[in-house]
Each structure stands twice: as structure tokens, then as C-alpha cells.
């Protein structure tokens, strides 16, 4: 019971520009529930993806039962007795439940026929044991999130795992489903399975975990034994960084009239009664753990997401469902977090990328580009934002991350927005460029633009926001002003804890 079954030894994983894991060592015993906690980007998922065979570490090694192992791929992990239940469903919607469960290792009868009946029977037996009700021949597309998760759990358990990874397993579950999951996890522990449990819900961890390992910024903070478990202690281990002196001084900033007002915004299952406002010159930060509804709210404001209830107005004019084009005309702009995916047209120049959102202003009524004006305006933005490039004809794919981010800013500033939404303003860019982007944001507020910022970087959230709204499960659970904010308070609210 007390022996270490799985060991991570000095694991380091570097991605271009960031070190996701830095010399992390931890061990998991046979038959224990080991929880892994930490903020966004602390390295939990990276560590689990290494164990699950999705990533290879740059340094360090894994040991199973004392033997060094190399896990080459997800299927290799599966064969070595490591089951992985992903946070986001990793199933193929066009196939049925049994096809998904047995994909890649179908039971085969003579003549190459798959043993459909046998596979369905096995699934039904497993479901009965676990208390799930799944119809093996139903297409996965028809299942809800909780059912999809049970399909993943069945898939993992039919491989008779020695180690089971559960990544935020309760995020999509109702209360009784959570209870069932806990019972299953405890039964597995009885059978000697080691369960690695990632969660940001500290209450759950208190209830379930035997030990807890805390990660922060890709480093190991420590492992707590069962008797040491304490919510406040976990929170204080997760937080506690120095707010660097790279943020503009915003103590003198004056706010103007209200620019954006969101009232009672509701999208069933995603957002519930979200209300807030942004004033001219103000930076409002949206915080919280990933996927708690912040991005959905922002997308609704930008007209990219339908909502069933609530209203959004800019400068007292209610916004109708006009789609993105309508929003741009109303003075809303959105700088995406996914620079390469939905932000920049990588095969095009700075000029073409910058003028993309403001084409309506840059064209004659007949739709011909006024190229002179385009050049003048792009040139002005490049100078203003200090975009470093040989000319505006340079391809954006040749630019550094920081300059690419500035091109996106330039694009949206050319639409002359009243409200600028910035999603992850400094993701994956170096410190110098970050400082200059903070400075730009600061200057924009002085010109009277209202900024709505969404960031998963806690330090940035605290350093830049005049007011912070913390999201948890689709609601705003906490509003903190600049004077009230501390990392600990944000973290507590984001983990669903109430302050005493």
C-alpha cells in the first residue's frame, strides 16, 4: 500500500518560449487517490500528457514499479496500464458507443468480423458494475457531456489500468453524477488502482484525495499528506508570486461615462445572469480558471455567440443580433487569443492583415480599395504601436509573437472602437513586448477607450485591471477593485470557495 508505484523524476518540458515543467519530481503510491492542483498554466495538464503519452519530456524520466519506462504514444500508455479520461471529450462523434470504446482494439471473430455482440455485452457488464446506463449501439453524437465522460471511463477501465488519470472530471457533472464518480474512484482505490485526479474544486479534493501535489508555474511546490490537507494551505501554496514592476501606473486614471453594459446575459449551461459594465478609460479584467464562461461571455458581446436572455448595449444603444459586422460598426472590437488560428492571415502582409477589419472604411462605395488611405492609416498605426518590420509589405508570419500581437491590435484600432476586448493580450510573447503592449493598452484608456481584458495569467490580471470580475461555472462570483485584489482572493473565488 505504501510503496511508490509511479515516479516522475526531474521532468522538464519546454515549449517554444516557455518552460511548462521545470524539474518536477513526484511519486504516486499503489492504490491511492492523488490530487494535482495549481492555477491555469501551472503544468498539471502538461505533466499528465507526458504520462499519457501525448508529449515527450525534454529531460527526466518516468518509472513504473521501479523500472524506467518511455511512453511513446497514447496507445502505448494504454497498453502499459495507464488510462486517461480527458477533460474535453476525446471521442469520435460519428461512431457508436461500443465502436468508440473498442476503437483500435476491436474484438475480432474469424473472417475479420468484429464481435459487435460480445463488445456490447462487455460494455453493459462494465456499466452495470459502475452504475452507468449506456446504450452501446447509440451514436456518441446523441450523448450529453456526462454520458460521454462515462464512455471515456468505460474505455479506460476496460483496459484494466493500474493508473487512471482523471482531468477535471466533475466539470460537466451534476451532483448525483459526481457522487457516482466518487464511488467509482473509491472502488478503484480498493482494487489497488492509483488515481491521479486533477481538479480545481478544492472541496472535492478535501473529500476524496489521499495526497495532494501542488504545482505552480511549472515547478513543484510540494506534496501534502492526508492529515496535512487544508484548503487555505493549498491556496497559499498555489499563489504567492511577486507582481513585477512592468505594469503602467494607473492610480491617476479618470474614468468617463459607461460604454458597455451587459445585463442578465444567460446562455443555458454556459452563462447565468452575467451583468457588468465597462466605463470609458477603464480596464476590466475577467479572471477565473479556464472554461468558466469568460470567453463565452466575450464572444456573445462580440456577436459570435447567440444568447437566449439578457441585453448588451454600447453607449446606451442596445445591440441587436447583427453578427460580428454589426458589432464592429457599433464600436466593439475583439482581439482573439488564437493568433495563428483565427487571428492573422499568416500568408499575407502586415498591411493586408491590418486593414482587414476596417475594409468598409477603406473602400469606395463601389468596393474599390482606397490604397493610398490604407497605406497612410496602416503606417500611422505601425508608428503608434511601434511595430518593428522592414515595411508594411512584410509577411506577418515573419514577425515575432509580440509584433504579430501588435498587428492584431492595429487591425482593431483601425475600426475606431469604443470598447476593445482583448483576449489573452500577451500569450506567448516575451517580456519586452509585453511591457510595450501594457503601455499601449494604458494609452488607449487615456484616449477614452474602454477595455475588457480576458486573461489566464493571474499576475497580469492583478497588475493591469482596474476592476476584476472572477468567473466560476458561468457566473460572476466576485468583483474586486484594484485596492481589494490579491492573488489569494482571486484564487479562492475561482475555486468556488466563499470567503469567511
Amino acid at each position: 500500500m505504501e510503496q511508490d508505484y509511479l515516479e516522475f523524476l526531474h521532468i522538464t518540458k519546454r515549449f517554444p518560449g516557455v518552460t511548462a515543467l521545470d524539474d518536477v519530481s513526484m511519486s504516486v503510491r499503489r492504490g491511492e487517490i492523488h490530487a494535482l492542483v495549481g492555477e491555469n498554466g501551472a503544468g498539471k495538464s502538461t505533466l499528465m500528457n507526458i504520462l499519457g503519452g501525448n508529449l515527450q519530456p525534454n529531460e527526466g524520466e518516468l518509472r513504473l514499479d521501479g523500472q524506467p519506462v518511455k511512453i511513446a504514444s497514447p496507445i502505448d500508455a494504454y497498453d502499459k496500464g495507464i488510462g486517461f479520461v480527458h477533460q474535453e471529450s476525446n471521442l469520435l462523434e460519428n461512431l457508436s458507443v461500443y465502436e468508440n470504446v473498442f476503437l483500435g482494439r476491436e474484438r475480432v471473430l474469424p473472417l475479420g468480423r468484429t464481435d459487435r455482440k460480445g463488445m456490447c455485452r462487455e460494455i453493459l457488464e462494465c456499466c452495470q458494475r459502475l452504475g452507468y446506463q449506456l446504450e452501446p449501439e447509440k451514436p456518441v453524437a446523441e450523448l450529453n457531456l456526462a454520458e460521454r465522460q462515462s464512455v471515456e471511463i468505460v474505455r479506460a477501465l476496460l483496459g484494466r489500468p493500474r493508473i487512471l488519470i482523471l482531468d477535471e472530471p466533475t466539470a460537466a457533472l451534476a451532483e448525483d453524477e459526481v457522487a457516482r464518480l466518487f464511488r467509482i474512484v473509491r472502488e478503484l482505490r480498493q482494487e489497488g488502482v492509483s488515481v491521479l485526479y486533477i481538479s480545481h474544486r478544492l472541496d472535492e479534493i478535501m473529500e476524496l484525495a489521499d495526497r495532494v501535489t501542488v504545482l505552480k508555474d511549472g515547478r513543484l511546490v510540494g506534496t501534502l499528506e492526508r492529515e496535512e490537507l487544508d484548503k487555505d494551505r493549498m491556496v497559499s501554496m498555489m499563489v504567492g508570486r511577486v507582481i513585477e514592476d512592468i505594469y503602467p501606473d494607473r492610480s491617476q486614471v479618470q474614468f468617463g461615462q459607461e460604454l458597455l453594459r451587459v445585463e442578465g446575459l444567460t446562455i443555458p449551461g454556459k452563462l447565468e445572469q452575467v451583468s457588468f459594465s465597462v466605463r470609458a478609460g477603464e480596464i476590466v479584467g475577467l479572471g477565473g480558471l479556464e472554461g468558466q464562461g469568460q470567453r463565452t461571455a466575450v464572444r456573445a458581446i462580440f456577436g459570435d455567440q447567440r444568447f437566449s436572455q439578457g441585453s448588451i448595449s454600447v453607449e446606451d444603444t442596445p445591440l441587436k443580433s447583427g453578427g460580428i459586422a454589426g458589432r464592429i460598426r457599433s464600436g466593439v472590437a475583439y482581439v482573439t487569443h488564437d493568433r495563428r488560428g483565427e487571428g492573422l492571415v499568416l500568408t499575407q502582409s502586415i498591411r493586408k492583415n491590418s486593414s482587414l477589419a476596417a475594409l468598409r472604411r477603406l473602400c469606395t462605395p463601389l468596393g474599390v480599395m482606397k490604397e493610398g488611405e490604407e497605406r497612410a492609416q496602416v503606417g500611422k498605426q505601425m508608428e503608434l504601436l511601434q511595430i518593428k518590420a522592414s515595411s508594411m509589405e512584410e509577411l506577418v508570419s515573419h514577425l515575432s509573437g509580440g509584433n504579430q500581437q501588435k498587428v492584431m491590435l492595429a487591425r482593431w484600432l483601425m475600426t475606431r472602437p469604443r470598447v476593445l476586448i482583448i483576449d489573452e493580450p500577451t500569450k506567448g510573447i516575451d517580456i519586452g513586448a509585453r511591457m510595450s503592449i501594457y503601455q499601449i493598452i494604458h494609452q488607449l484608456t487615456q484616449a477614452g477607450i474602454g477595455i475588457l481584458m480576458l486573461t489566464s495569467d493571474m499576475v497580469e490580471l492583478i497588475g493591469l485591471s482596474d476592476r476584476t470580475l472572477v468567473f466560476y461555472e458561468g457566473r460572476i462570483v466576485k468583483e474586486l477593485s484594484r485596492s481589494e485584489i490579491t492573488e489569494e482572493r482571486v484564487m479562492k473565488a475561482a475555486s468556488g470557495m466563499t470567503e469567511e
Binding site: L92, L95, G104, R105, G112, T114
Partner: protein
């Protein structure tokens, strides 16, 4: 009851199935209208003929369907057909049964190699399927003309007669199609290769992460498409009794059209074989009808295109309805 439940399940899993039934209904309507309109049309002789005429397209479309389900596309089947008839006309003219048999073997071997080349281009060189198969298609057009510069050569008459043997309404081509259809059906719905094809058509990374041998599955699809094209090539060669280095030209696009009309999504991951056969028969039947009515060739093309657009619209609407149903 259990059977009924299975059928209901099947409908739920493949919403295209109802569209396939619509196509079949459409087919019967066209057919019934023609029978009423024209005396000669309802003769057994003509009905057998109509069915036989549709078979070559149906055969090649079955292979195309596999490739499209797996997330690819094969534009080269048309010129593969041309090359196959050219090879057949060169090798199968002799009266020696052994040599005729060898000819058949060579045709299939050649088609399999074409499939391997396509599969290798897509899977190893990572060239998009559309480009890879367009290139091989162009090369094969040249190869066909090199083997047989003008239509000619000879197919052993006995062999051709056996392949086109008819008994009342049943004919050898029809039997060949049914056998091929059943074999493909078995492969697609009953074996792990079939499941893998659907899986990689939906998402290769996810399929790979679950242990599907994605490259292997994709290669199989292209090889099978080549082999199906070879069947069509031999059928055409036996019908004409000569080879024609350009006779396959229309089959590339027509096979894609038949597949799409039959309810297989060009995005991959969904589709069914019965729909493809129905689609191929619809295309074949309509051109037969229009020939019968002396409709100009131009209009036939227009008709075919319009049919394809109609199918796309119907499927995209039913897809959207399906999504909305699931969301609510």
C-alpha cells in the same frame, strides 16, 4: 420488435438513410413514368439493359465512397478505368484462356499499384488527396494513350460474352455488382478496417490517439478504390469488346457525384454504400431516360449538375436540422 428497434437505431445513426429512400422513390417514379410513356421502355429487354448500363458507375462509386468516408477523395479513378480498358484490350485478345486470365490479373495488379501510389502520396508525402489524385490522374491519362493511342485492340469474345450474360432481368454485371456491394458492405460495417475508415474520416489525430492505424486504413481505402475502378474498366472493355484510352474520363466526377447524392459527406466520417448505389443508378437512369427522350447532350450535363446541387442542399438542410434536434 427487436428488428424494428435495430432499424430505428440505424435511422438515428445515419440520418442520410431516409434521403436514400427518397432517392429510391425518385428512381421508381422516373421509371414508372417512363414505362407509362413508352411501350418499348417496359420491355424486359430494355429494363435489363438499363440496369446493366448503370453497373459500371455503381462499381467505381463504391470504391470512391470508401475513400470519401475516410476523409479523402480520389479523382484518378476515371483515368484508372481508361488504363484498365487499354491494358485489357492489349492483353486479353488472345483465344488462350490462361492469357485472358493473366490479363485480368494484370489489370487488377495495376489498379492496386495506382491505389498504393495515391495512398503513399496522401499518407507519406502528405500531399492533399485532391492534388495527389489529380496528379496521378493526369499521369494515367498519358499512360492510357501510350498503351493504346486510339480505341482498338481486342477482348476475347467468349470472356466478354460470359461477363455480359443475361437471363431475363438478371444479368452477369448485376451479379458482379451485388457481390462487390456485399463484399464492401461487409468490409465497411463488419470489420475493424471499416470502423477505422469512419474514425479517420472524422478526425485523424483522435483516431490515432485511440490506437487506430490511420495510415494503414487510408492506404486500404485508396487501393480498394483502385480495384473497384478496375472492375468498372473490365466491364466497359467487355461491353465495347475493344479498349478505349479515354472512356473513363467522366467516371471520376460521376463517381463523386453518385457518392454525394447517396448521402456521403465530402467532409468524411459519414456515409453509406447503399446510398452510393442508389445515387449511381439515379444518374445512370436519368441519362438513359434523357437519351430515350432524345434530350440534347448539353441538357444532360445541366441536369446532372442540378441534381448534384439539389442533393447538397437537401443534405446540408437535414444536417442542420439534425444538429438543432440534438441541441434541444
Amino acid at each position: 420488435m427487436k428488428q424494428l428497434e435495430r432499424i430505428r437505431r440505424k435511422f438515428a445513426a445515419t440520418p442520410q438513410l431516409s434521403s436514400v429512400l427518397t432517392i429510391c422513390g425518385l428512381l421508381l417514379m422516373v421509371f414508372a413514368a417512363m414505362c407509362v410513356y413508352s411501350e418499348s421502355y417496359r420491355s424486359t429487354y430494355n429494363i435489363t439493359n438499363v440496369l446493366v448500363q448503370c453497373v459500371p458507375l455503381a462499381c467505381v462509386s463504391l470504391g470512391q465512397t470508401l475513400v470519401i468516408i475516410s476523409g479523402g477523395i480520389d479523382l484518378s479513378v476515371g483515368s484508372t478505368i481508361s488504363v484498365c480498358t487499354a491494358i485489357a484490350a492489349r492483353l486479353m485478345g488472345s483465344d488462350n484462356p490462361v492469357q485472358v486470365f493473366l490479363g485480368v490479373v494484370v489489370v487488377f495488379a495495376f489498379a492496386a499499384v495506382v491505389g498504393l501510389v495515391n495512398g503513399a502520396g496522401v499518407n507519406y508525402l502528405k500531399v492533399p488527396p485532391m492534388i495527389t489524385t489529380l496528379c496521378t490522374s493526369t499521369i494515367l491519362e498519358g499512360v492510357a494513350l501510350w498503351i493504346l493511342p486510339v480505341a482498338g485492340g481486342r477482348i476475347n469474345a467468349d470472356f466478354a460474352r460470359v461477363v455480359y450474360k443475361k437471363w431475363d432481368i438478371i444479368s452477369m454485371p448485376l451479379i458482379i455488382l451485388i457481390v462487390l456491394f456485399l463484399a464492401m458492405r461487409y468490409l465497411l460495417y463488419r470489420t475493424r478496417t471499416g470502423t477505422s475508415l469512419y474514425a479517420i474520416g472524422r478526425s485523424r489525430p483522435i483516431a490515432a490517439s485511440m490506437g487506430v492505424k490511420t495510415t494503414q486504413a487510408s492506404m486500404k481505402a485508396y487501393v480498394l478504390a483502385g480495384l473497384c475502378a478496375a472492375v468498372t474498366g473490365l466491364l466497359l472493355a467487355c461491353r465495347m469488346r475493344v479498349g478505349d484510352p479515354t472512356c473513363g474520363a467522366n467516371y471520376g466526377m460521376d463517381s463523386i457525384a453518385a457518392t454525394v447524392i447517396g448521402g456521403t459527406s465530402l467532409a468524411g466520417g459519414t456515409g453509406l454504400l447503399s446510398g452510393t448505389v442508389a445515387g449511381a443508378f439515379l444518374i445512370g437512369m436519368l441519362s438513359n431516360v434523357m437519351n430515350n427522350l432524345n434530350v440534347n447532350q448539353f441538357y444532360q450535363y445541366v441536369m446532372k449538375g442540378a441534381l448534384l446541387i439539389a442533393a447538397m442542399v437537401v443534405y446540408s438542410i437535414s444536417d442542420r436540422l439534425e444538429v438543432r434536434r440534438r441541441e434541444s
